[in-house]
């Protein structure tokens, strides 16, 4: 053991951070070996929120499993619903109608905004900037109110359906959302005035948690966490789904791959999301919100069940006899969730239930990179590093 100048003996200290710790954003446990204030070794333990979503889904019909996806990344349930429904649609060979595609794009971007501003607030709070938290929650509240207006739920929305969406948007909703897109860029500027030039913020984020582009790709990082290192990989651009090929937007990338660049990426993404939402409202086409061939898997709208014979038959058959068999095959389908690439790998054995449903969650991959970011850094930066990769443990543990 090394001896300090006064002849006192020093040794490594092992501490357990979490699972209940305000800065771990859920139930993440890190076992840290410390030499003074430097982290020598960091071992993450996950699984405290494991609910067996993949096993549960094997025993459910394709329709039943939608609510499970809400509870993966509960900050952005719309994006999860969309990802799952797209995978099932691709399996069945269904395509959602135009209007539904635009609505989905719109709500997915709303959930991206809601997720990013929650991240901004809590990340800044962890690093020591309290004020941003209060401001960002004001706008998040607006988004959640809009979700409530749209589908009655604020967090666990279950709004997207296989082959479309649950219900159409109202004019009141669109007006309020349009007003939001008018005001929100000003609010983003407001957050930035609070921290962007703040010397403490810069000291705590610049050149902290650096990860180079090649290494970030090798670790499987996706989303803003990867783009902060300068890799422009975005599923919305690389394999456009829904209406992303019909709207204009840029993919912001960073340069240095540090906490600050990832923060800048997410701030720019807020602006791009606002831009996408605006275009979606302006271009929103008229037409149906459910694909006609989806009636084999998704429940028809309740109004139709009460009025029209065919819908009632579909409803009855779906509930009593179970769903129509899916084609046999396997599909991997990815979407750009706020946190990164959210993939669903579905194996179908030709029955109405998924034989295997695998969720490739960005948070799980991002959590695995924590030791790489933390080892060798100061213990105070552990908090900045957990914040910057933007993990949510519900999705990590599934």
């Amino acid at each position: 053991m090394p001896k300090s100048a006064e002849g006192l003996e020093t040794k490594e200290l092992t501490i357990s951070m979490g699972p209940q710790h305000p800065a771990t954003h859920g139930v993440l446990r890190l076992v840290l070996a410390l030499d003074g204030e430097t982290v020598v070794k960091c071992t993450p333990y996950v699984g405290y929120l494991h609910r067996g979503v993949e096993k549960l889904a094997e025993h459910m019909t394709y329709l039943n499993a939608i609510p499970l996806t809400d509870r993966l990344d509960y900050m952005s349930s719309m994006a999860n619903n969309e990802g799952y429904c797209l995978a099932v649609e691709r399996l069945f060979g269904i395509e959602a109608p135009e209007r539904a595609k635009y609505i989905r794009t719109m709500v997915a971007e709303m959930s991206r905004i809601s997720s990013h501003i929650l991240w901004l607030g809590t990340h800044a709070l962890d690093i020591g900037a309290m004020t941003v938290f209060l401001y960002s929650f004001r706008e998040r509240e607006w988004i959640l109110d809009l979700f409530e207006m749209l589908c009655g739920a604020r967090l666990t929305t279950t709004y997207v359906r296989i082959g479309g969406v649950r219900n159409d948007v109202s004019q009141e909703f669109l007006d309020s959302l349009y007003k939001f897109t008018d005001e929100f860029p000003g609010r983003i500027a407001e957050y930035e005035t609070l921290i962007d030039q703040n010397r403490i913020w810069l000291k705590r984020t610049k050149r902290i948690g650096v990860i180079e582009a090649d290494e970030a790709v090798n670790w499987g990082l996706t989303g803003p966490t990867l783009r902060g290192s300068g890799v422009p990989y975005d599923v919305r651009k690389y394999a456009p789904y829904d209406a992303y090929d019909k709207v204009e937007f840029d993919v912001p990338v960073g340069k240095n791959g540090d906490v600050y660049d990832r923060y800048r990426c997410r701030m720019e993404e807020l602006r791009q999301s606002t831009r996408i939402i605006r275009q979606c409202i302006e271009k929103l086409p008229l037409g149906p919100i459910m694909a006609p061939e989806a009636s084999k898997v998704s429940l028809p709208p309740k109004d139709n069940v009460l009025k029209d014979m065919e819908s009632m038959i579909h409803h009855f058959v779906l509930i009593t006899k179970g769903p129509i068999a899916a084609p046999e095959g396997e599909i991997y389908s990815a979407v750009e969730a706020p946190k990164g690439e959210l993939g669903f790998y579905i194996v179908s054995d030709g029955t109405g239930r998924p034989y295997r449903m695998r969720v490739r969650s960005p948070s799980f991959v991002h959590a695995s990179v924590i030791p790489r970011l933390c080892e060798g850094s100061l213990i105070a930066d552990v908090i900045a590093n957990i914040g910057t990769i933007d993990i949510v443990l519900g999705e990590c543990d599934r």
Partner: protein
Amino acid sequence: MEPKLIAQAIAEALKERYPEEVKEIKEFRGQVSVLVKKERIREIMEYLHDTPELCFSHLRDICGVDYLGKKENRFEVVYQLFSISHRHMLRVRAEVPEDDPTLDSVAGIWDGGNWHERECYDMLGIRFNGHPDLRRILMPEDWEGYPLRKDYPMKSDLGDKEWKGLKKVFELSEKNKIYEMGDHAKER
């Protein structure tokens, strides 16, 4: 070229290079998947990762699937590969038999493979040779059985053989009942 055709071409090239290993090439909804034997999986993955024209730099996912009673080899380990520079994707499935559920780890090629393989071990009991740290990840360390196997029950019917940890939680909750509001008020 269409993404489907590119993936087909890659799969054909892979079959030409490893004729013994590649057993089957399947296409469904524009996605191509290659079924391979497990013995030289690491070599195949290194080839896919290192060849500049292929450059599968992004390992999207590794997961296991249990085909109990459906296929000759019970398990399959599925690798979802993507190339960020060339924008093509390929799915590689490696057959793993029930009596020897082991195969070589690819965590040395992609760092991101580390946790995926740990999860695959945790959920299906497939062991990865040469993995740096093969421990359970989502389930408790002392858990018995592999939950995602098809013969693992959905609901517990273990009775007395229930996981020790859960019993402990129930005992503790029983013990802590004396601190509940009602009793507390009575004591006073």
